[in-house]
């Protein structure tokens, strides 16, 4: 099959869709963070993604459009790092920055390139946050999503289909955080009491992967 081209416009659509989903789910994310954290994941992510959309708008309106996948993803990463703070700022920031580095100065990524970029992002998150699988963090949704994406593509699926599988894996990973005992982030302070609650970061990651499935898979 022909590779789907994930070009700059597609990435832009993805990020904007993610921003919309975060905004819609702001209260949910904050409620989840109230139960096992400090009640700010929704406002953190929403502040970061609104700033990101504003940065994307500004870049194009000022006539210096982001012409490569690397440039776009790095702009997203830098904006996230410099507007969120907290745990999610550096983690999401690193995710996008590393994706940008992996993508490089190309106008579009092929399927494998996108998958490789996402996996590089995951590696960055792990390097920064030192979380292991099962620690009840965003990694518990991101890692299975990366693995599913990679495996589906390797098995011959198209990006559309592979991202759909990845989104399902992210959802499953998110749900699987419920019975986990948190060992990283604020939720770890609760010890046993963290059990029975869904991790807010894994929840926002599932939104991110679902947004990818909804925006990236289609051939132009």
């Amino acid at each position: 099959m022909t590779d789907t081209s994930v070009d700059v416009e597609a990435l832009d659509r993805w990020i904007r869709r993610f921003a919309e989903e975060v905004s819609k789910n702001k209260d949910l994310l904050t409620d989840l963070d109230s139960a096992i954290g400090d009640a700010d994941h929704g406002s953190n992510m929403d502040r970061g993604m609104s700033a990101t959309v504003a940065a994307l708008d500004e870049a194009s309106s000022q006539g210096r459009p982001l012409t490569t996948a690397g440039a776009l993803l790095k702009t997203v990463g830098m904006t996230v790092v410099s507007s969120i703070g907290g745990a999610s700022g550096p983690l999401y920031g690193t995710l996008f920055l590393r994706m940008g580095t992996s993508a490089g100065d190309v106008e579009a990524l092929d399927d494998a390139g996108f998958s490789a970029a996402l996996t590089a992002g995951l590696a960055g998150v792990v390097a920064r946050g030192k979380a292991e699988l099962g620690d009840k963090t965003m990694c518990d949704a991101l890692a299975p999503a990366c693995a599913a994406l990679d495996a589906s593509l390797a098995g011959g699926a198209g990006l559309s289909e592979a991202l759909a599988v990845a989104a399902t894996s992210a959802d499953t990973g998110r749900d699987a955080t419920i019975p986990m005992l948190a060992r990283k982030g604020r939720a770890s302070y609760l010890g046993e009491r963290s059990i029975g609650h869904q991790d807010p970061g894994a929840t926002s990651v599932a939104l991110l992967v679902n947004a990818a499935a909804a925006t990236l898979g289609s051939r132009p």
Partner: protein, 333 residues
């Protein structure tokens, strides 16, 4: 939610406007949300920076001034500042002698300060060391978790390290005493009510009428367990026991005993708690060399308190007693 605020998004920036107006001794960079010392510093002094989520006043902005911090970076409510802010503050206060970052041990704070230190070093070559406070015995420590939270000791550390820097000690020396303060301090907190994060609009947790939450931090995170409300004497025992069980505070030159209000508890109750704490320490053979009672590291409007003990020797004691002039702590000058 009833609060004296305008729009929830502007709480931090508007409070900074108020701090700026109320304290001519401070200089506030509103763009970067950084509070700086407004007075002249000793040339070549090591720079001391702290920061963190807002909502813990007077920490950190209220501890900027002679003998304490050179700058404090204010994050959103309960959200650590971003690397850009910290980098900006680091570059500004560096006077060639290097900069110490005082960071409370929360994943977000640690990562953002880390990134800032990397970026600042890369950009200007400024020498940055960090000390991470992690004194909260409510949290089980382990190599495989986020570890203990930084709470009350942060206040004492900022004072003591601030005095060391003011004396003209080198970055390595200031960092060394800072690490020593952290290693010798332990804290434990209790909440009678939750706090309400302005952007969330409702209490972070529900605490039914007759219950208290033991082992809370300073962000409205739920604690380790709920208990029925008890007397001040019993609560004091529940706070002090895990502290003295974690580190031996007997002997030597004694301790600084710090009873901290979490924001919504009046001073009268804090003094009453201090009386209970002082009695327990006396019975345990722990000598109180200095004390501090009041709301110094708070969690917005949370009712409750924390107890911090810091084991000290003559050096730390004289640094504690050294002059300080900040909105939150002031003596000797």
């Amino acid at each position: 939610m009833k609060k004296l605020i305008n729009k929830t998004e502007n709480v931090v920036s508007e409070a900074l406007l108020g701090m700026d107006a109320a304290h001519p001794d401070l200089r506030v960079d509103h763009e970067h949300k950084i509070i700086y010392r407004g007075d002249d510093r000793r040339p070549g002094k090591v720079g001391l920076i702290s920061g963190g989520g807002s909502g813990h006043d007077p920490l950190h902005g209220g501890f900027v001034g002679l003998g304490m911090l050179d700058a404090a970076c204010a994050g959103e409510v309960f959200t650590s500042p971003v690397p850009g802010q910290i980098m900006e503050a680091t570059k500004t206060v560096d006077d060639g002698a290097g900069v110490l970052h005082i960071v409370k041990n929360y994943t977000g704070d640690v990562m953002n300060f880390e990134m800032a230190a990397e970026m600042a070093a890369e950009e200007t070559g400024v020498n940055v060391l960090s000390v991470i406070t992690n004194d909260d015995v409510a949290v089980q420590d382990s190599l495989y978790t986020a570890g203990r939270r930084g709470v009350g000791v942060t206040v004492l550390l900022e004072k003591i390290a601030g005095a060391a820097a003011e004396e003209g000690r080198s970055l390595a020396q200031v960092a060394e005493i800072a690490h020593r303060v952290n290693a010798n301090g332990r804290s434990m907190g209790v909440a009678l009510t939750s706090c309400t994060v302005p952007a969330a609009g409702k209490p972070t947790f529900d605490l039914p009428g007759g219950e208290i939450e033991m082992g809370v931090g300073i962000h409205g995170e739920p604690g380790r367990k709920r208990l029925p409300i008890a007397s001040a004497k019993e609560i004091a025992a529940l706070l002090v026991e895990p502290i003295v069980g974690d580190l031996d505070f007997t002997g030597g030159d004694g301790v600084i005993a710090f009873v901290n209000g979490l924001g919504g508890t009046p001073l009268m109750e804090l003094y009453l708690m201090y009386n209970e704490v002082a009695q327990i320490l006396k019975k345990s053979g722990i000598h109180v060399a200095r004390s501090l009672v009041g709301p110094y590291i708070t969690a917005l409007d949370m009712a409750g308190c924390s107890v911090t003990l810091l084991k000290i020797g003559p050096e730390m004691l004289s640094l504690w007693d050294a002059p300080v002039r900040t909105p939150g702590l002031r003596w000797g000058v």
